[in-house]
């Protein structure tokens, strides 16, 4: 005799806990961040973000490793061989590639797979969505902009002959490290998301983001050396804008002939503002 069983598979009202808008937003931020870093995906999706994150830590780890192993046999003062102000410049290319890989992942799949309408059918508004994605871009970026120099600082404190004295002497470096990292992360997050919002295909967002950062940098560099009064064209170095902005937070004078720190900060602000406007424009209407 065959026994049958009838399952109740009708639609039901959701009667679980309702955590509100902030919980929905946090859930989106959390999963967007993790997905951009390759969570819940194959190992191939994880390799590039993880490898780039590790590379961003290399300079700090190498210096601290040398201090741990060979401090007595190396004559140079290893504590000052890698100034905090130079860290952004040294790993700038790695941060750029990390941003180019990670930020399109946050927006393009939503547009391409048609999940935007599903998001907007929940407690998340369009403004929440954009803010959430900006935060989701910032979190992984802070991993490569703030954490490596912070590890270097912590290591320098540990290796210092007088740790407390080192902290007293370098107190100002703590907010500088944080501010420089946040400035870089903000720039790459806003610009990357703005470019990614223009297409549903991740491949073209990556190519467009790369072209936006690299091409003006090379154009400005060549033209500034070859045309009359071309010095300010160096400000077209969009790939270097966040690095110069980060360096402007330290008491280091720019190289002679380079634009002033104020000029770099203004370009940084301007590009972030334009990117924010692009994001507002792309997600304001029904079409988004």
């Amino acid at each position: 005799m065959i026994e049958g069983k009838v399952h109740d598979v009708r639609f039901h009202r959701y009667d679980g806990p309702r955590n509100g808008r902030l919980a929905a937003l946090w859930s989106m931020i959390r999963w967007s961040t993790l997905r951009a870093l390759g969570a819940k995906r194959g190992w191939k999706a994880k390799v590039i973000p993880i490898a780039l994150t590790l590379v961003a830590f290399f300079p700090a780890l190498i210096v601290l490793g040398l201090r741990a192993l060979f401090a007595s046999s190396i004559s140079d003062n290893l504590a000052t061989v890698l100034p905090y102000s130079d860290y952004a410049g040294i790993v700038g290319l790695v941060i750029l590639v990390f941003a180019v890989v990670v930020t399109p992942e946050l927006l393009c799949p939503d547009r391409r797979d048609g999940t935007l309408a599903l998001y907007f059918a929940t407690a998340i508004s369009r403004t929440d969505y954009v803010l959430g994605k900006v935060l989701a871009a910032l979190l992984p970026l802070l991993l490569v902009t703030v954490l490596p120099p912070a590890i270097l600082y912590a290591g320098n404190v540990l290796f210092a002959t007088h740790p407390l004295g080192y902290v007293q002497e370098h107190t100002h470096d703590i907010p500088r490290i944080a501010a420089a990292g946040i400035a870089m992360a903000l720039y790459f997050a806003f610009v990357g998301l703005a470019i990614s919002s223009l297409t549903g295909r991740r491949a073209f967002a990556v190519g467009g983001y790369l072209a936006f950062l690299i091409v003006p940098t090379i154009v400005g560099g060549i033209l500034s050396n070859n045309i009359e009064h071309g010095e300010n064209l160096r400000l077209m170095a969009f790939a270097a804008v966040p690095i110069h902005t980060a360096e402007a937070l330290y008491p280091v004078a720019p190289d002679s002939g380079d634009p002033s720190n104020t000029a770099w900060v203004l370009v940084w602000l301007g590009l972030i503002a334009v990117s924010a406007l692009v994001l507002v424009w792309r997600f304001r209407g029904d079409e988004a």
Partner: protein
């Protein structure tokens, strides 16, 4: 070997897209740059030095690389994403012929965007000093480098779901960073061989890594090997 109906359809699909306009704008960047130079060059500026920097630092390693990469990936990647590649492989054409056709179409589309930009840039930047060799050597460098990039892009689009990301990592991290200061690393750089052909006439920006004949052989070999690997992948990978 070339399957002409597939070639025509692919070329039309590659050229009649919104992204082609954006790539055209990217390809026009050197023209704009040469125009600014033509209008506001410093007194006594060395035109060939400027043009050499333009081609060796901007055109070959960045503009040509990105345009060829995006178009090369699109030639096969779009068919994979849309599911039309099944119809293509169901035809009685050899895998090698199909991949060679796709690479040829991508290469043609790339050259349609890049060659006019190169010629106009030369005319603007060199003013009255322009001669055929100052256009032909850079054009040869761009043509062969983009052929190799298209081959690599087509192969990558069959081997991975993230061909542009991997291509960008190669162009930016390897060619743009490591290969610029490590002499032996430049031997594994497509752009370096393209620049070697450019440097035959315009050595002002950088000396060539090899002579023109080895550069031609290596770039052609890269295109041929990636074409063969692509055909192999087309027969083996899950589409």
């Amino acid at each position: 070997m070339i399957v002409w109906p597939v070639y025509r359809l692919t070329l039309r699909a590659l050229l009649l897209q919104r992204r082609t306009i954006l790539l055209g704008l990217l390809a026009a960047a050197p023209v704009l740059m040469a125009l600014v130079y033509a209008v506001a060059a410093k007194a006594g500026a060395h035109h060939f030095r400027f043009y050499s920097h333009l081609v060796q630092e901007l055109f070959v390693p960045t503009i040509a690389a990105v345009v060829a990469l995006v178009i090369g990936v699109s030639a096969i990647g779009d068919e994979r994403e849309d599911g039309t590649i099944y119809y293509l492989v169901a035809t009685p054409q050899s895998r090698l012929g199909l991949i060679a056709t796709k690479i040829a179409a991508a290469w043609t589309a790339t050259l349609v965007l890049l060659v006019p930009s190169l010629v106009i840039s030369a005319l603007l930047a060199l003013e009255g000093e322009v001669d055929p060799s100052s256009i032909l050597w850079p054009a040869a460098g761009v043509a062969l480098a983009t052929l190799a990039y298209c081959g690599v892009a087509a192969w990558l689009s069959l081997r991975t779901r993230r061909p542009i990301v991997i291509g960008v990592l190669y162009v930016l991290l390897w060619e743009g960073s490591i290969a610029t200061f490590a002499a032996s690393a430049s031997k594994l750089s497509i752009a370096a061989y393209g620049r070697a052909l450019v440097a035959e006439r315009l050595p002002e920006a950088a000396a060539p890594v090899v002579g023109p004949a080895p550069a031609v052989v290596i770039l052609a070999a890269v295109a041929a090997i990636t074409c063969w690997l692509g055909a192999r992948a087309l027969a083996r990978v899950e589409l």
